[in-house]
Subunit: 309 residues, 2 copies
């Protein structure tokens, strides 16, 4: 399954699987630390508690890892990238909090725990999500320590990925698609907006923290698009092939909700083939980026397509 065709390429020397795993442990530890530092205990009337519940102690942190790997690829500013990483994760986590609510997917299990509205009530969950979105932009605009030009650029990338043209737009299509027959193009558009745009933004926000040529920027955009779509196709596959305990969320729910997925539209075999095609596109894009230190991004792409939960 695993496509290893670039593993001996010159640009990849120096990033062994061991070194990657060490880096990943360190990166995850820094991200958790910053999340814990920046998501407030002190917000009033239980709001801080609900926000922390919604974002701490769970999740694979794929988006923060993409930000940090991309930062390394352009030899960027790690402190800036940590702010970007936390802001992207806050947007992702708030979308899960709102998405799980009864008026949306009505889900009671997330990351192996009761969802935020089960624990804090619907109003508490809605407000926690709202405050998490605002906090993402607070984290990107500190009074000092981050150049204003970079603050502006990161806020621009994140807001466009989160909004009507990206994630929120994808959720709206998803909502409207229940019981509909989408063709592959329609499905691709929905998945692209719902998940792909924020994954791409993660890669680009990391790249914005360093010097990145127009060629590398374009290649990283393609890389982000490919793994973004691959991620969602894998999600569709896991939804029907893995049990809830493994996923930490309710399995088979798209199927039961009569929502179009890559599996229902293309079948399992073709969906798996699509993942391999997208994986290849992601690897090609990284090659074309000309970035010497893109090994972490390549290995993250491997993780995205090979994950089983």
């Amino acid at each position: 399954m695993r496509a290893r065709r670039y593993v001996t390429a010159a640009w990849d020397i120096g990033m062994t699987q061991d070194a990657f795993e060490r880096w990943m442990r360190e990166a995850l530890s820094m991200v958790e630390q910053r999340l814990s530092l920046w998501v407030p205990f002190s917000a009033p009337a239980g709001l801080g508690e609900a926000m922390r519940y919604g974002v701490l102690d769970g999740g694979k942190r794929l988006r923060p890892l993409l930000v940090l790997a991309s930062c390394e690829a352009v030899d960027g500013d790690v402190e800036a990238a940590l702010r970007a990483a936390v802001s992207v994760e806050l947007i992702h986590a708030y979308s899960l909090v709102h998405d799980d609510m009864p008026c949306m997917d009505n889900d009671v299990l997330r990351r192996g725990k009761p969802t935020v509205h089960v624990r804090f009530g619907e109003a508490g969950a809605m407000l926690a999500g709202d405050a998490m979105q605002a906090l993402a932009f607070e984290v990107l605009t500190p009074e000092q320590g981050l150049a204003p030009e970079l603050q502006a650029r990161l806020c621009g990338l994140l807001s466009r990925a989160a909004g009507h043209g990206g994630m929120a737009g994808g959720q709206a299509i998803d909502l409207a698609s229940t019981g509909l027959t989408l063709d592959e193009a329609g499905l691709r558009d929905m998945h692209y907006r719902k998940t792909g745009v924020l994954l791409r933004a993660s890669v680009l926000m990391g790249a914005a923290t360093g010097a990145c040529s127009a060629t590398a920027w374009a290649a990283l955009t393609e890389f982000g698009d490919a793994i973004g779509l691959a991620f969602q196709v894998v999600d569709d596959i896991l939804d029907v092939t893995q049990p809830s305990e493994k996923l930490g969320k309710t399995a088979g729910k798209d199927l039961h909700a009569n929502k179009p997925t890559y599996v229902t539209v293309l079948g399992l075999t073709e969906a798996r083939r699509q993942v391999q095609v997208l994986h290849g596109q992601a690897q090609d894009a990284l090659m074309r980026s000309g970035l010497a230190d893109a090994g972490r991004l390549r290995l993250l792409a491997d993780m995205v397509v090979e994950r089983d939960s």
Copy 2:
């Protein structure tokens, strides 16, 4: 009722009521035009329609007017101020959309129309609100035409006013306060966060578009705090003294929801006296700002305390 003590002061010459009303009509027209331009028709699956429904054709636009008046007071950049004005109104409007939902205030009438969730469903309303918050930051981060330093500053001011330390935090206190007895300090803190912080941010975002001394900034902060609190106390008064038709929203709802208000805590007479005290504080702060062209802000403060809907 109307406090006119500064009307002949030198700094105020040149802003007659007529000139103010002319300016206000022009300002409102520009704000509506920009809202219509920047809130997308094109967002997918009815999302754009719900966003436009939630923010266009209604509302007094007090926050945008404060941004623009404050911009005039510092001889700021009107194009930048229009972006700030629209972004603040988007945050305000999204908060109303979410606040009206069944899990919060469960209100069916807003600005004389059915609320967004009545018209577009609960999931549609939640997503529209989410996308409106993201759009506020999109509007503040255009690819060109607004200096990055100012983009960053405006994003910082807006996110902090919208988030857990401001509006969302105030909503959380409000939610938790039903049936509780708050003292005046507790009530002030709730009102301050829920409404005051965003009104203050409106004034400061306008001031950020021009040159503003530290003295003027501090004075405008005090001005924003005073009218922010006054606005909410007036709201509490109108909730019990005006019918729904006049307000364009359900009257008496705080009373029926058993929520503490300035009227229930202090009584109507003392609440009215507080409004006058805050009005005086706002006027004093403007005097101390040393800004020559603060007449529009003064007249907006008059409007805030004298409004009957």
